[in-house]
Subunit: 401 residues, 2 copies
């Protein structure tokens, strides 16, 4: 099974606590960490996380420290925070950044609506930064709203693809081994330090290849491609109504299913106040193909855009909307059809500000069944290209299949 | 300075032997390796390379062995071969692939016109494959056209970004240390093996971060992004004639220069049988913006496409051609203009077969100076997007700035 978008969703937006499917053993262990699952009379284990993020990223070869480098226009550290905050049993997350970056960090937390995050000033070394983070979690801090945790996870700010199961393994190993903190890095000096200063034998917990550290510029490229791939796993074909199997939207849906066989294709109806769509949005689909049935109208696209804007879906990732319009060259010349649809340019500019990427797609609808299939296949290729690249430079363009 | 396209050019296509700029010391050392630079009466050092490529790429998580995974539709191993064959003092390159892949490997060599390559069957281990490669280079092989080399470079097939200077360091170190072969991998078992079996103290030669090994799927993503970035460093604005500073092409050129400040923007004229362009093609520019001056014509684009097709430039990388057309809404309605330009769809389909990605771009040309600048800036954004993504799904589309 393909993993969901990096970091999963925010628990507040979804029912269950777990952001990604865990095995039965892991689910049982995880229940010890949440209030609901804890045995009666037993307090759940208090877990917090500290993210040292004071580095300057000199190996990256770019002036911005790597934790602040943008991926799809959002700073890398926001993806890591998203991954940690999606784990509901991590009560507090403390980020240590250099003094000059505190304001920027607070801006990031606000813009991307991160929750349960505190910012502290980093030290001159990674270990000093961790120390400052731990200090903020200690009980004796004046004005601190943070609870003293029993386990603290130390996690690199530049490992955005950490999954709940690895974090869970770390916490369980901590309980068994009794160390005060664990490090997810492999082969760093941390295990040695734990032995030397804490007289504690640290345990190495196996991670996944996805846990790799963004170090070089090529890692940023890889991270961007991984994120793009993950948010392109599902396409929702939106129609005014799902009734009528002969609906042109269903024909397009079928072709998308057969042509893009690595992608899940669903459909949603705009009727009933978009209740269908609400569920799809909750399940974090970031790609919509909106079928407009009237020749020179765009009512459906307008409705969909309103629903998306209200949902806040595009806060974390750019959402692709392809506004599809059919035309029959025998009835209306293509040029006239295009002229009618030029409104899309202004619209695209407007919704771009809210991280929605709107493109227009005109699909030729000939009477000939074979030619129609050819048009729909061409449309599928164009839709796949738009979704894969998520290119903001091409928004508002009217493409022809 | 940004490096050129990975692997540099083929020496046969360019005058100098060196594919990338070397320091003075390195250039002096390199001269010892080429016939031209060797001291009178002294034979240049005979150097060959062996590429073990028999792996199955199980860590990649894809069914294709990683050396055959496509990047911009070309197999990874072809990039590595290109890098090695661009170094003129490597006389022979021997690739070891499993029996079932020999035919495919020969197909790759033919399709991408690789030179000086021999294919042998891989062994069951990496070391056996290297042994088979070395055997092919030994003098006593019947029917072998290969010369026995004095130094053999062993290079992983999945390290496509190797540069001449690193290879040179390896050869020089070999001369000084007298080992029989060197390995570019860091920290592998090879240094130990050299010590154990050859009683030779191998020397570790420092590489660059670019020398990294494609291991996981994310490395393929990174490699693709690096290659795309490297071939997007230069844009040539092509006009019918370079005379006349008021030429609209020059205005576009100026805006491209100011908007895309990380890209080198040059211009070339189609007159004089495209002599200008021949030089630009030789210097490996993979991006062309062709300005058509007649309202509904595409003579300039047709000329450029002919020149590109004859040049073989697109054998190794997809070449982007943006066919630019200006229109004044007061004179001709946009819809009519678009209708006139629909020929581009068929054309794009045709040249796509030869790895040329053709897109159309209509630029609004208002009388108002400020609005014109706005149009040109919008055009620059679209051109940058097309060149960056090199998306074959969108060829033949007519975009509007």
């Amino acid at each position: 099974m393909e993993p969901g978008p990096p970091g999963g969703s925010r628990p507040a937006e979804r029912g269950p606590c777990l952001s990604s499917p865990l095995g039965a053993d892991q689910a049982a262990s995880a229940s010890l960490l949440s209030t609901a699952g804890a045995e009666p009379g037993r307090r759940p284990l208090a877990v917090a996380a500290v993210l040292p993020a004071g580095g300057c990223g000199e190996r990256m070869g770019v002036p911005t420290p790597k934790q602040f480098c943008p991926i799809l226009e959002r700073p890398l550290i926001s993806y890591t925070l998203q991954a940690l905050e999606s784990v509901c049993w991590i009560k507090d997350i403390v980020v240590a950044v250099t003094g000059e970056n505190i304001e920027a960090m607070n801006g990031i937390i606000q813009k991307y609506q991160h929750k349960r995050i505190s910012v502290v000033e980093a030290g001159v070394t990674r270990h000093r930064s961790i120390f400052n983070g731990l200090k903020a979690l200690a009980e004796d801090q004046p004005n601190s709203k943070l609870c003293k945790p029993e386990v603290v996870i130390i996690h690199d700010a530049v490992r955005p693809f950490v999954e709940e199961d690895v974090l869970l393994k770390v916490v369980i190993a901590t309980k068994e081994h009794g160390c005060s903190d664990y490090d997810l890095e492999f082969g760093t000096e941390c295990l040695q330090l734990a032995l030397k200063y804490c007289h504690t034998k640290a345990k190495l917990v196996e991670g996944s290849p996805d846990l790799w550290k963004v170090t070089y510029k090529r890692d940023l490229y890889a991270a961007e491609s991984i994120i793009k791939e993950r948010i392109s796993q599902e396409i929702c074909v939106v129609m005014d109504s799902k009734e009528g199997e002969e609906h042109i939207g269903h024909l397009l849906e079928e072709v998308l299913k057969s042509e893009l066989n690595h992608v899940k294709v669903t459909s949603g109806a705009l009727c009933h106040a978009g209740g269908d769509l609400q569920q799809i949005i909750l399940e974090q689909c970031y790609n919509f193909v909106c079928v407009n049935v009237m020749t020179s109208d765009f009512q459906e696209t307008q409705k969909l855009l309103s629903i998306l804007e209200e949902s806040n879906l595009s806060i974390l990732y750019p959402v692709v909307v392809v506004s599809v319009h059919f035309f029959d060259v025998k009835l209306v010349p293509l040029s006239q059809k295009m002229e009618n649809l030029m409104w899309i340019r202004g619209f695209a500019k407007e919704v771009r500000k809210r991280n929605i990427l709107l493109y227009g797609l005109l699909i030729c609808y000939p009477q000939d069944e074979q030619k129609l299939q050819e048009s729909l296949r061409q449309a599928a290729v164009i839709i796949a290209a738009l979704i894969k690249e998520r290119n903001s430079g091409l928004v508002g363009q009217l493409l022809v299949a």
